[in-house]
Each structure stands twice: as C-alpha cells, then as structure tokens.
Amino acid sequence: MARRERITIAVLGLGGQGGGVLADWIVQLGEANNYVAQGTSVPGVAQRTGATVYYIEMFPAGCASAPPVLALMPVPGDVDVVLASELMEAGRAILRGFVSKDTLLIGSTHRVYAIDEKSAMGDGRASGERILAAAQERARRFIGFDMDDAAARTGSVISSIMFGALAGSGILPFPRAAFEDAIRAGGKAIETNLQGFAAGFDAAQGKGGTPQETPRATAPTTAAGRALLARIEANLPREAHDFAVEGVKRLMDYQDAAYAALYLDRLEALGTDPALLTEAARHLALWMSYEDTIRVAALKVRASRFARVRAEVKAKDDQIVELTEYMHPRLEEVCETLPTPIGRRILASPGLTRRLKPLFAKGRHVETTSLRWFLMLSLLAGWRRWRRGTLRYRIEQARIEAWLALARAAEPDVAVEIVKCQRLIKGYGDTFERGLGNYERIVERYRKGGLAAADIARLREAALADEEGQALDQALAS
C-alpha cells in the first residue's frame, strides 16, 4: 500500500503543563489548513499529578476520498512527532516504543521529580543522562532544551514553548503564521503565548543563547582570609583545596578566623592521604558549622536573604513582602544555646525540665519582618560571640573529636568511609536525633571491630533507605 499521508503526533505531559491546550492548538492548526484533524485524551489523570498522553492525527482533506479512519492512541513505530514536556516523560515515550527511527522527538530537558525521587532520605533522583543518550540513539532527530526555563524567561507556559518548537522543527507542512493563528484562535493569554512560541521556535532552530555560568570567585578579601588560604595551599593536597577553601569561608562566616584555623589544624592532623583529606575537608566543615539556634537566626535576618526571598516569590518592586518563619525551638535547643553549666543543670533537673518544657511545646510563628522579632533574632545571632561557651558547642566539639580520633586511627580507605558518615547527621529536632542515632549505631558497630570500608558504606546506605531504620536494623544484624 502507498506511503501514508497522515501525520501523527503524541504529547506526553504532566498535570498543569497545558498539554490539553497544546493538543487543541495542533488540532486547530490542522483543521484551519485543510486537514482532517482528530485529538483524544484521558482528562483528569494528568490533573492529579499523574502522567498522560494526548494524541493527534491529521489527514490531508484533499487526499481523502472517504472519511479516514483515525486511531485514538499512538502506535509504536507509527508516531511522527513526540512532544514530551519533561525529561522523564521523554524517557517514558521511548520506553513505550513511541519513539522510533522515523520519529522527531521534541523534549524538555528539565526535571519534574516524581514522589519517590523527592522523598528519598538522601539523593533519590533518577539519572537523566541515560534518557538523553536513549533519545539521541532512538529518534530520527531529537530537539531537546530546557523548556521550563524558556517558559520562565518569557513569562509564558511550557505548552507555548512546545508549540513553538514544533513549528521551529519544520516537520509540519504549515508556515509559522499558521501556528500563530492557532494560538490567536485559542483566544487565551495570546500575547504571552506568542512570546513563549517565539522562544520555542528559536530554540528549535538552534538560536537563542544559553545563559552563561558565572565562575565562583575564590579570592580572599581580608588578611585573615589570605593567611588561611596560604596555609591551605602549603599544607593540604591539591585535591582537597576546593572543599577546604569552602570550609574556611563557611567557618569564618559561622564563627571567626580562629575557628577556621581550628578546622585546618584538625584537617592537617589527619595525615596526607588526598582522598581522605578531600572528604574530611567537606564533612568536617559541615559538622563544625552545625545548625544551632544562633546560626539559624543569623541566616534568617541577613539582607541577602531578604533579597533572595523577594526574588523567589516574584515580588514586584512596588509590592511589600512580609515573612513568617515556622520555628520550633524545644527546651533542648534553648538549653543548648545557654552557657554550659546553666544549660546542663536545667536539662539534668527533672523538676525544672518538667516545668519549663510546656513553654517550648508549641511551634512559633516568627515574623522576621516585624521589629520585635527582627530584634530578637538579631540579638540571638549576636550571641555568636559567646558560642564557645554554649552547651551545644561543648557537645559538638566532643563528638567531632571522637569522630576524628576514629578516622586518625584507621587505614585511609576505612577512614574515608568513617568521615563520610557525617552525611547522616542533618536536620533539626527529631530528624537530627534520628540521623545522629543512626550514625552512632554504625560507629558503635565499628568500634566492636570487623567492619571493612565497604561494610561501612553499606551501613550508611542502609541508614538512608528508610525513616523507621528497618534497613539499618537488617544490615546491622547481618
């Protein structure tokens, strides 16, 4: 039978991305240009965050002696264009066989993470590289770029970017103006949709630059900074320099130059193994800049933070932004911020604890932009000068020393794994206690002897597998 005349287009999208609008535009485009066009979908599925397929077929009316029989679902090996609004949806199109050697794949390279990727305790993100490689390998042609970014830059929605890319690809026998007419005929947000369309059109034709990344400046600005940098360059292996500079910066911001110097003392005492020192430079800086109430307060009141929030919530210049923090300092955190003897005494006294606890049982709505709360947080941030006297400081430094002692006593490959276990200790309140508990269980097991480097890595992964600690229980038992 003769070569087919129909054009088949599948749109794979997620809820809220306007896949339905895009499908309507394409149907409209076909109908306005003397094609018999048909679109189908399963509405409601995408709305509730699932993934769905819109499917369009069109047939030149001039070639039709009778009404053509059009299909309602894409057929593997018979799809001319696949439009995917997200990288994993492009992957799903490939997985379902919609992308064949005759297919033009137009896909956004940005990610909308699935719930399992988001809720992992560590980094649960799927690899995008495999999808990109498969797209290059399987499709006749692959047009991929970050359409979410293009939508944000033009203030439009991703559906208009995709429609622009479809036009820019040149695969359909219609001029650019016909596409733009379809947007006008749709009648919704015509101006912004046309802007998005133009951005998508240019991107598909390889026009329109990618934003340049600004290199990070690492040059010190103070005498103390220069001295510490000189020390890093003199005493630490090259591989560890980036993290060490970052660590010194962090700790000078967190406390002062002397504290940063203590950091370098501790690093230098770990020996000369580059792999160990690189990881230690990272994890020691993180542990030494543990998040106490002083640190949180200091970060919350900064001018740079106010500006960042304004940008993030897309506040216009003439709009006022008011901020409320959701803080929940418990009696433990409050006592840990107090001078060691006082804090320790309160926590040790059941009577005092019982009486004071209810005062800190409720979460607080802290209005950082109000004068009262701003002053309060500023005072707390200024408490930094007395941080070395706080109970929390005493506790954390003891933990750090114990951890470093373990690393110093171990062979470098084991020491690296011990050092990496710091990753488990993060968060606040219950989360912090869970992480610390997991860390301590692994260390305790190590102290009993018989754990090789690979075993520690395995236990660490197990600790990140589930919140209830079941995987770690099993791993420790085996």
């Binding site: 809820g15 002696s65 029989v69 970060l299």
Partner: protein, 707 residues
Amino acid sequence: MAERSFKAEVEQLKLGDGEPFHGEGILAVTKALLQAGVAYVGGYQGSPISHLMDVFSDASDLMAGLGVHFESSASEATAAAMLAASVNYPLRGAVAWKSVVGTNVASDALSNVASGGVTGGALIILGEDYGEGSSIMQERTHAFAMKSQMWLLDPRPSLPLIVDMVEKGFELSEASNTPVMLELRVRACHVTGSFTARDNRRPPLTVAEAAAAPTRDTNRIVLPPANFLHEVEKIEKRWPAGIDFVRRHRLNEHFGTERDEIGIIVQGGLFNSLNRALELLDLSDAFGNAALPVYVLNVTYPLIPDEVQAFCAGKRAVLVVEEGQPEFIEHELNTLVRRADLQTRIIGKDVLPRAGEYTAAVIKDGIARFLRAHAPDRAPAEEPAQPPALPPGAVPQRPAGFCTGCPERPIFSAMKLVQKEVGELHVSADIGCHLFSILPPFHIGNTTMGYGLGTAGASAFKPEGKRAVAIMGDGGFWHNGLTSGIGNAVFNQDDNLTIIVDNGYSAATGGQDIPSSRARPPHRQTNNPIERAVRGVGIGWAQTRTRTYDVAGMRDAIRDALTSPEKGPKVLVAQSECQLNRQRRIKPQMAKALRAGERVVRERFGVDPDTCTGDHSCIRLSGCPSLTIRSNPDPLRQDPIAHVENSCVGCGVCGEVSHAAVLCPSFYKARIIANPNRRDRLRHRLRGWVIGALQQRSARRLAARAF
C-alpha cells in the same frame, strides 16, 4: 462548579439542520439526544462520564427550553430508577454513568426495568472505563447486558456513527421494549470530530404531561405473576424483535473485501485500532479498505445469528478481536457456528492476550499470529525484537497524588503523626481523591470496597483497645455512605472512627456540587451539613473541624476520637474547600482586584536553601506537588534540598507540618501585598529604616571577618 465549563461549547447544541458540528464525543452525544426528542436525562458523574454530566448541566437552560427534564442523580441507582418513567409512557429517557462500577451500583434498578420492559426508548450511556486510568479494569459491562438482557451498543469511534447510534438506540429500545446500553470508551468520549447536525426536537410527550395523566399497567410491575410473564416475553417477543431491528437497520457494518477464506470480527469500539494494525501489516489503508473481510459489531449484544452465519460460511478461520475477559462474544460465536454446522475455526484469545488493553500494537501482534497459523502466505515476516532502549526502572513512576494545596493532604499528615504515637492503624479507605493516601508518601489505607463504603468496610472490626479508622468523602457520603456506613455503624454499635472529608464538591469526578456544597447553584438545594445528617441517624460523638490545614489540630482531634472513653461510632468531619475549585473560584477575582488597583494579599511558602539540610522529612509528610527538590546550592552538601515552586498556593501545610512534627526552621511564609494601602506603606517604611540599618551594620561586621 465543575472542573471544566462547557458554556461556550453548548452553543453548538443549538445547531440546526445541515449545519456542521465540530467538537468532542460527549457533546455529540448530547446533541444526538436532543435531536432524538429525549424527554428526560439523568446520571452520575465519574470518568469518563463526568464531562458528559457537566455538558448536560451547562446545557440545562437549553434543555429546559425544549421541555427536557435534567437532574444530577444522587447515585447510579437513582439514575437507573429514573428510567421507570419510560415503563408506562412513550417518553424517551437517557441516563449516564461510569461503568463497570456505576453499573454495579445501578444493577438493582436495571434488573427491574429490564424485567418489566419499556414503552418509551430507554438509553443508558456508559463510559466504559477500561485501560489507562481505569478502576476495575477486569470486569465487563457485557456481563450485565447478558444477565439482564439489555442490548449493548459499542459503536465504531466516529462521530457521525455515534450520533446515529443514539437515535437508533432509542428506536431499538422501543421496537423491542428493552433498555439499550450505549458503551463509549474513554478516548471515544473525548475524541474530536465533525458531523452534520439536525434540528433539536421537543419531546412529543414531556414528563410533566405524563405526570398529569398517569396510566398504569400492572403487567409491567415486577411482582408475581407478571414477572413470570416477563421472562417469557423477553425470550419470545423482545429478543426476536431486537435481533430483527438490528438486522433490518444494518447496525453492524462490513468493511474490506467480500469473499475470503479468512476474516475478522471486531467490537465496534476497537475498529479504528484494528484498521491501524491492518494498515501497519499492509492489509488495509487509511479508509478501512481492508484486504480481507471485516465484520464490525456496533451491536455487541445480542449477536445476529444470520449475519454471523453468512460471514463465517466458506471461511476456514475467523479472528475475533474482543477486549476483556471472559470472552463472551467468542463463546457465543462458537455456539452459533456449531449450530449452523459450519467448520469455521473461531480464533480469539489463543492469539490475543487474555488481559490488558487492546492497543493497535497488541492487535497487530495478534493478527500476525493468526495469519501465521491460518494464512501463512499472507503473514508478515518475523521481525527480530529491538532491544529496549531503556530498562523500565530508568523512568520513575508517577502515581497520582493530591493536588497542590489539597486540603486532604494534611488529614493524612496528621494521621501519620498519630500513627507515630499509637502505632499502625487499620484504615478502611473509600473511593475519591482521598484514596491517594494509599500511595507514597502516606502509605495509609488497607482496603477499599466501593464508593461510600469506607465505614461499611470497617464494620467487621470490633475493636478491643485499638479502634479502626474509616475514610469517606463527602461525595461517597451522599452517594450511599450515610445509610450503608454511618446508619449501619450506629445500628450495629460500632466503635470505630469515620473521618469524612468534606471539601465541598464531588471533587474526584471533577468538582460537581453535592448536597453539602457551600455554593448556591440556582437549580439545587445545597448547604445541608454533614454533621447534622450523621447526628440525625444517631451518631453521638461527632466533631467538625473547619480547617484541615491545621495539622496539629487535626492530629489532636484524631487522637481524641481514637482514645475517647466514649463507646459508639465516632465521626470527624474534616472541612476545607477543594483547592482546585477554590483556585478556579478566586483566581479570576484576584486578577480583577489587581487590575482595579485594589490591595491584594498573596501568600506562598518557600525554603531557605542555607538552613535546609536535605533530609526531605517534610516531603515524606506532605507530598505536595509544589514542594519539590533541587540541587543543593551549597558546594559542601550533597543531598538535594527542598524547594517550593511558584505554583504554591500558600495553603500553609508545609509550615504546619514542620511545626507539628518538629522538623526544621527552613520554611517561611511570604505575604506579598500588592497595591499596599497607606498603613502598609507607613509600617513598611518604619520597619525598613530600623531593619535596614541593623542589616547594614551586620553586613559590615560579616565583611570584616569574611574570607
């Protein structure tokens, strides 16, 4: 207010003779009903029939103008019982729902209306929910057609044919005194296409006129001895009349060549997929000119013995393409072929899969297998299977979940917190959006037994110590939960907790109004509080919480209900408006106020990247689509941090969850005041002076001790 408005589209329903109609399948069906002179219409929403109900609802003025009665029925059983109007009177009536689940609910009334038979045409429009996104995909409406002896139409997905089948369906129903089911697959409901319209027809007799002049025929009532008569009548009169009508009006179609040694029999709804499969095998073209005979069953029940015999005679083998199981049509074909003493082999499930959707790719493989066995010279060459480009695990699954800002999410966050205190609970889930609690990140819910049956599903659990929890939506509550769940729990002295999710709409089906809705639509009586209803059937312990976003409050209320010394069933009504509907309602209002220069406050949440440590506890407790992750901007940290996208509607759950679960101080709420008034500006300026000065001072100090 429904998810989608068809106000603009229903204008097309006014088209007259000869005018071209362009639009979706469901609109075409509605137009066809009006052209057929329907007198009354009812139904219950549910995918893929929700939009049909919304079209009816948006067209209710037009229908009223034509003298057509329309109502949104309380359930599918209610809708089916409405067909009683066609028993004694020559009234054409149509009802609609999602099948097979809705047909289950309706089956009591369906058995009765099918037994007594109808005088006026009775059409049941079914959204056959099979395949992608379906609920009970393994059951078939076909079984109901067989057991109650109702005719089942499964038209080829072509708008002109579907429209014609609506008209023919009424005629068939009247000719054989039998209710007729019109089955539309999900994608057929939403397929776009064109047909030539005809004038709408006022019903020759309206429901009001029928009510004014009642007639009665006791032979139509299902009561002995009439029901014995019905059985005989079904076999001796209605069945032959139905077959005769289908044959005379050629409702089934033939495609392809006249004669061959092989052929294909296909359900009408699958024809387009079949033709595409044939095309890919070089056995057909874009217009259905197949290279072998194809018999298309637009009527899948009953089969027409003469037509089957004529088609099968002289053929060695016939492939039957029949989706779902058991393969009723294949069984029946075998019987008919045997009775006709033909030697034709009927091939179906031995080359086509027993389970799963029949996509064109699946059908193509089945045909290839059929040809290899029965016409090897026409079989395609075997193609080596291409190795998969990706392993399935490379692409993460996207299970459906609660929308951004959904008021149901905090209920389950609260339940998760309660479970941390009291241990795992047995949770009897219901049908509705709240069923997503079963999926990540909540993992709450043990069973689901049907719409409005959450409480009934927990009724066998008589607790000693730990109470079971049942979930019910407001939609399910009014559908039947009040009686089958709450009333039953009172009567049988249950001691469980029922949480009723009262979001103001039948939200899962697209936001239709229900008796407890807060909206005041013109043709409905709403604002009937659920708590009053449950107290009315004897509940003693009932509480209504008016803000589900208060996670700590929800947690305490659930804990109270589970630990209260009081015996007896407990009901907690958890109220907050469905966010999808709320956004649809307030977004235009806000845009209008902004344009008018009025003060508008928008709220949204955010995460501070420098205090977030990337544990994602917040995501495990909330799961909001707007709460996502992004690469950690901190070069020292590895794990991605939480991040709130601009789609955030500021419901507040992130903050409340982090308070209730003592998580972390990273969440902030931003109130963005557009067009601030003088007081706002004054306060802002005052704060700006002090805060700005302090910030400058600390920035200087920071610079002094910086790297």
